[in-house]
């Protein structure tokens, strides 16, 4: 764990008082500012009365909803897989998804670079939460009223892995994931940008991504090992 600096980000609301009054447990973010940031999302997603599926599914009732659950929307294979692995859109997962969609769900069609600023994400989520059932219950339903996110430190993200070590470690991966990149039942893990690989593995390690085998496999890899695997698989022949 020498490379890892766990940063607990307790999200502060800009207009916290109003939301706090609404939810009773603490603010997620500033709904007004969130509505303005949501303009970035509107090209693909509708929310509110009469919202329909567009490029992306409508977002009414998103909190607490199982992934890939809106009727009549054709979801990517990636998000359907995540759903069958048990992905449910709670605050923590939505936040992780907004930060980098492809880190949470490999193969998602949501081609959005992500909101890197935690405050921006909190505000958008505070806004979206207003369109979910019983929004005041949601923070209690899942213990997520205050987001506790362990961020990857710049040192972790900058860590350059040893591909030779990665090749040895990869033997565990390739019992299931095929080295030639084919994906029949089990996703391909070859030629990912190393950064995406690292983020995805840490998401499993922290049990944000839902798959139990991957949580277990990632759970015992340290930062150096994850970086080594990322380096190996990025350029695997």
């Amino acid at each position: 764990m020498r490379w890892l600096i766990g940063v607990i980000v307790a999200l502060n609301a800009f207009g916290g008082a109003a939301v706090r009054a609404e939810s009773g447990v603490g603010a997620i973010g500033d709904t007004k500012r969130g509505a303005s940031i949501f303009r970035k999302c509107k090209g693909c997603h509708q929310v509110g009365q009469g919202a329909k599926n567009r490029v992306g599914p409508h977002l009414n009732g998103i909190f607490g909803r199982k992934a890939a659950a809106v009727d009549g929307f054709f979801y990517s294979k990636g998000i359907r897989r995540a759903a069958s692995d048990g992905l449910v859109w709670d605050l923590e997962r939505l936040d992780a998804y907004l930060e980098n969609p492809k880190a949470l769900v490999s193969g998602t069609r949501m081609s959005f670079p992500g909101l890197k600023d935690a405050h921006d994400r909190a505000d958008v989520l505070a806004y979206l939460r207003r369109f979910s059932d019983k929004p005041s219950d949601i923070p209690e339903a899942a213990p997520t009223a205050r987001l506790q996110e362990v961020e990857l430190s710049p040192e972790t993200l900058a860590l350059v892995g040893d591909p030779e070590y990665g090749e040895y470690l990869s033997a565990e991966c390739t019992t299931c994931h095929q080295r030639d990149g084919s994906d029949e039942g089990i996703p391909s893990i070859t030629h990912w940008p190393a950064g995406d690989f690292v983020v995805a593995m840490h998401a499993y390690k922290r049990k944000i991504r839902p798959h139990p085998v991957m949580q277990m496999m990632a759970g015992r890899l340290d930062d150096e090992e994850i970086a080594a695997l990322a380096a190996y698989f990025e350029n695997v022949e």
């Binding site: 897989r81 759903a83 069958s84 692995d85 048990g86 030779e164 070590y165 040895y168 470690l169 033997a171 565990e172 390739t174 019992t175 299931c176 994931h177 095929q178 080295r179 030639d180 084919s182 994906d183 029949e184 039942g185 089990i186 139990p212 085998v213 949580q215 277990m216 496999m217 759970g219 015992r220």
Partner: protein
């Protein structure tokens, strides 16, 4: 453990000279030699990883009697009608052509640990610097009274895949309507802990379509078994009333069979069987006994390297070894083979050696699109391979998840096959 390369090259050359006329002894050109006995999940993986990693620096010979290897894993799916037999048969052509492995189709019948040679049934003698034994299992003589290997046609075990699997399937297909299938399950430890119970699920699946009034009886010497709750729930969901499990508490450990009369005596009650699938108690493949590396029925190994605790030049993989907490499975053998390959390369060449890591996952199919799994990760301690963390499917899981689990197992099969055979 250090190796004086000069001394073993000299010795190897002398042995090669002494066995002139033995065509399988390669002129190794001074390269260190590894002989691997057994071309399954352990042996084929070890051969490929040693050859691939050493890039020609190590001479690798793989001894496997069958030209086409049928995997035991997924052979139950063949019984259930989910796979063709041909889809679980694999050949060694790529290992020879793409990895330069000397594949010898013969039986290893003797090992001289002092001379460091393996003798084959055909008479050839293979010298080695390191020997890998991955022979799988054989059956304990007299384990099920009334049954021996000469009865395996009347009462197949089908616990080595191939012709035995075909025979069992043919017998299931020929069962009279309302007939009885009896399984005599093995005691611990044995190959593939969920295997007998997945098999029962698959047999039930096949019978449900062709012979819905048929019955399945399992006589089991154990009080419980792998993924028991998941199997029992699945049997209730898919094959309600068809399967009777008689555990140790009800006399499942007191069984004798009569292959001539096709009867099974379970704790004094004689059952007439239309098919009787006897899976006897198991031990390491016989070559381990011949090599003198067994302690009891299995060959003890160090978890750090998979080296035999009796001979450090011998590595034992998979079902045949006793190592600690890992189940005897193809996945485990594959995982252990990679650790052994690394240790052997490290001992014979200058390649890097990293700490041993192991993992295992066993998927089982209960019915159409109803897959479950159990798995764990392991690390080596001085005493054994010790479990670190694990998971198991839960009862009551949704259909989507079970389907995804089944699809995952198909992906795993493709993955491990390409990991073994290239």
């Amino acid at each position: 453990m250090t190796l004086d390369r000069r001394s073993f090259i000299g010795k190897g050359a002398a042995i090669a000279a002494a066995s002139l006329g033995a065509p399988m002894v390669m002129a190794a050109g001074g390269k260190p030699r590894v002989v691997i006995v057994g071309g399954g999940a352990g042996g084929a993986t070890a051969a490929r990883y040693i050859a691939k990693g050493s890039k020609g620096e190590i001479d690798v010979t793989l001894v496997e009697p069958t030209r086409k290897y049928y995997t035991c894993f997924f052979s139950n799916l063949y019984l259930g009608g989910f796979r063709e037999l041909s889809s679980i048969g694999h050949t060694y052509g790529k290992l020879a052509a793409d990895y330069g492995i000397n594949v010898v189709h013969d039986w290893a019948v003797g090992i001289d640990r002092d001379a460091k040679t393996v003798t084959l049934a055909g008479g050839d003698v293979l010298p080695y610097d390191r020997l890998v034994l991955s022979p799988g299992i054989d059956f304990v003589d007299g384990a099920v009274p009334g049954w021996d290997i000469s009865a395996q046609n009347a009462m197949p075990h089908a616990y080595k895949a191939g012709s035995q699997s075909e025979l069992l399937k043919a017998q299931i297909n020929a069962m009279p309507q309302g007939g009885t299938y009896v399984m005599v399950a093995p005691p611990n430890p044995f190959r593939c802990p969920p295997g007998p119970y997945e098999r029962v699920s698959m047999v039930a699946h096949a019978l449900k379509a062709s012979n819905p009034t048929a019955k399945i009886i399992i006589a089991d010497p154990k009080p419980k078994f792998s993924k028991m709750a998941l199997f029992q729930e699945g049997w209730g969901n898919h094959y309600d009333g068809m399967i009777d499990w008689i555990g140790q508490d009800f006399g499942g450990d007191n069984v004798k069979v009569d292959p001539g009369a096709m009867t099974v005596d379970i704790d004094g009650e004689v059952v007439k069987a239309d098919v009787c699938n006897v899976i006897p108690a198991m031990k390491a493949g016989r070559i381990c006994e011949l090599a003198g590396v067994n302690d009891g029925n299995w060959a003890p190994v160090s978890g750090h390297t998979m080296q035999s605790r009796i001979d450090e030049n011998i590595y034992v993989l998979g079902d045949a070894c006793s190592q600690g907490d890992m189940p005897k499975s193809g996945f485990s053998a594959n995982s252990q083979a990679k650790v052994a390959a690394m240790a052997i390369r490290g001992a014979l060449t200058d390649s890097k050696v990293f700490p041993a890591k192991f993992s295992n996952t066993c998927w089982s199919l209960l019915g159409t699109d109803d897959g479950v799994k159990v798995g764990a990760t392991y690390q080596a301690t001085d005493e054994k391979i010790a479990k670190v963390d694990g998971f198991i499917s839960k009862t009551g899981e949704g259909g989507d998840l079970r389907k995804a689990t089944y699809e995952e197992s198909i992906g795993w099969y493709a993955g491990i096959i390409s990991d073994m055979f290239g």
